[in-house]
Amino acid sequence: MVSDKPRVAFFDFACCEGCQLTVLSIGLPLIDVLKHVDIVTWREAMSEKSDEFDIAFVEGSICRDSDVPRLKKIREKAKLVVALGSCAALGGPHVSANRFEKSELLTLVYGEEAGRFAAGEAGEVRPIGDEIEVDVSIYGCPINADEFVSVLKHLLLGRPYRVPNEAVCYECKLNGYECVYDKGMICLGPVTRCGCNAICTSRGHRCFGCRGLVDDPNVNAAKDVLEEHDYTLEHIIGMFQIYSQRAPRVKELAESAAESDAKKKGSEPWRFGSTT
């Protein structure tokens, strides 16, 4: 069967597959979208497989060197590669495993037999963009279903997709939610990329930074907000490391925070996370 519709494929690496599930959960509107494409590979949902595709949606991060060849092959075949969700785009929540030695993690999970797994597991947790060129990134843990549909429409129409690059505060304020800082909690909204419609603050929680930092975060303004509420950067750096451990800016901050923390606490080990 030959069709001139764009051929779409879904792939995944280390992740929870929640972003693909979010796509499936679009429900009936998904069926309308599917009329304009041919889905040729989607292991989670169908048994057909094809090596011929135009658009590859890739969920998950790279956690070990042995996964790289499969990813590179996808890049070779695809005209466009879309990073589907924060694991592919940023490394995902497990990017913070990089804070620990891999050998120690292997021993923790596999005990005496850890050595058996060491070779296969080599390498840091990293976004797919560290290994291949990515055309569009859809951020979020998980992605926002509306944004997925919007990205797909842009790709089908050949229009450039503008990745949201405002802070979560922007969407939070547009919705008229009470500021999380005013409720006495730390929030990563001031420097985190929006596009989630501030879903976490809409339900009384704070932003955990799952979409990563905006391209040019206004760090000084964020510092002012923190100071106004008697917090320092040290308080939030651990939270940033949940999703943005690999962001250079976060790495720098973590180093300086670790230094000042060590000074304050003497021989106490450096602890992660916000104070509670």
Binding site: C16, E17, L21, G27, R43, V109, T276
Partner: protein
């Protein structure tokens, strides 16, 4: 005959089936698990209890509610946080929501194509649009209830140890109750469809393990029980469940009384069917499901029976919550620091989170035992038994049936290599 199915489809995660059959004898039949480890138990260390709830949920996108519930339960036990009656009711309701959406995904979208001789649900969009709409409706109604309760199914927003950062809106909850009532018709239609389908013949008795509560069908909390005898409280799960490594898997296998056991819908229905909602018991009879059932493929029928149960249970819980009136509640305080175990029945079976916190309420140790880990040894035993039974069939039939066997378990492979 050498069989190699790389990356079994219509399951969550990456697994390969390897089988060797010589002169009608099965030399080997296994599910090889090749998924990358994410080391959640490692990097949860150092996190505050509220961050732990946010992170641990992300072990699985499909059973996010189950991980969220097991995680906060473990933290509450470790930190001596007593939950209110309203929170307890909402927890049960959340599990019902997940059961409906997850079972619907598996039965309608992942298993049904096999029984219709299809490779996916996509051809049905044109051939049987009403059935596809029904499937989406059931799945998304469970999903939407999760939205109302905790902001989102994948991944929940409002769940924290001790309760919620915001309460569900009563008007939205009343609408969800009405939509759940509407699902009763879809259940009737599905029964009609199920009666026309035929599952492969297979029988192999094994050990069935599930939670058990004294007064209701448990998806949340209770003792861990086995059909081989044995009952342990969640804190003592290590006295019963032993994890071990095999050469062909990055995920651990488990055993209790014998070399393998099964968890999931079939184990739960076999162990606790008398506590199912009367309507679900009636459906059980109508579909000729007479527990104990030893055909693993019937796990998918058990999932449907549980869907009917979860819908009825959810309607009753929503009525009760609406009648009581939903109250804003403060999250109760931390009263101690130590170890705590949380247990739930994820759609795929028993799920355990075991945490230890230091005096600053930061996690120092985590152990998570995933349902699919507990099923792996049993999957291998079933693949062996099934391969022996169908050894003389054409290769593609053997391949398909072995794949169907793996699928029957609704495995969550990436979740198992957390």
């Amino acid at each position: 005959m050498e069989i190699r199915v790389d990356h079994v489809t219509r399951v969550e995660g990456h697994g390969n089936i390897l089988a060797s059959i010589k002169d009608g004898k099965v030399e080997r039949a296994i599910l090889e698990v090749v998924e990358a480890n994410r080391f959640f138990e490692g990097f949860l260390r150092g996190r505050s209890h509220e961050e732990v709830a946010h992170i641990a949920t992300r072990i699985c996108g499909i059973c996010a509610m189950s991980h969220s519930s097991a995680s906060v339960q473990a933290s509450e036990h470790a930190l001596g946080i007593e939950i209110t009656e309203q929170t307890a009711l909402l927890r049960r309701l959340i599990m019902d929501a997940e059961m409906v959406s997850s079972h619907a995904l598996h039965v309608y979208f992942l298993v049904a194509p096999d029984l219709l001789g299809l490779k996916s649900v996509i051809p049905l969009v044109e051939k049987a649009p009403d059935t596809v709409k029904l499937a989406f409706r059931v799945k998304l109604t469970g999903y939407d209830l999760a939205d109302v309760l905790v902001g989102r199914h994948t991944h929940p927003v409002a769940v924290v140890p001790g309760g919620y950062t915001s309460m569900p809106d009563p008007t939205a909850l009343a609408q969800m109750r009405d939509r759940f009532i509407g699902l009763r018709d879809d259940m009737k239609t599905t029964i009609g469809i199920l009666k026309t389908l035929e599952l492969p013949a297979f029988e192999r008795e094994t050990e069935y393990v599930s939670l058990q509560q004294p007064d209701h069908y448990s998806f949340y909390g209770g003792d861990i029980v086995s059909t081989d005898g044995g009952r342990v409280s969640p804190d003592d799960y290590l006295d019963a469940i032993q994890e071990f490594l095999v050469p062909h898997s990055t995920a651990k296998h488990s055993r209790w009384n014998r070399d393998s056991y099964m968890v999931g819908a079939l184990a739960r229905v076999n162990n606790n069917w008398k506590q199912l909602h009367p309507k679900a018991q009636k459906v059980m009879e109508e579909l000729g499901f007479k527990p104990p059932v030893y055909n693993t493929f019937m796990n998918n029928v058990a999932q449907f029976i549980e869907t009917v149960h979860a819908i009825e249970d959810a309607i009753e819980l929503m009525e009760k919550l609406l009648a009581r009136g939903i109250k804003e509640e403060e999250v109760p305080p931390i009263t101690r620091h130590g170890r705590g175990v949380g247990v739930v029945e994820a759609p795929r079976g028993l799920l355990i989170h075991d945490y230890t916190y230091d005096d600053g309420a930061r996690l120092v140790k985590a152990n998570c035992i995933i349902p699919t880990n507990q099923n792996y040894a049993n999957i291998d035993r079933d693949l062996e038994a099934l391969a022996a039974q169908i050894a003389n069939q054409p290769k593609e039939d053997v391949e398909l049936k072995l794949e169907m066997m793996v699928r029957a378990y609704d495995p969550c492979i990436s979740c198992s290599v957390h």
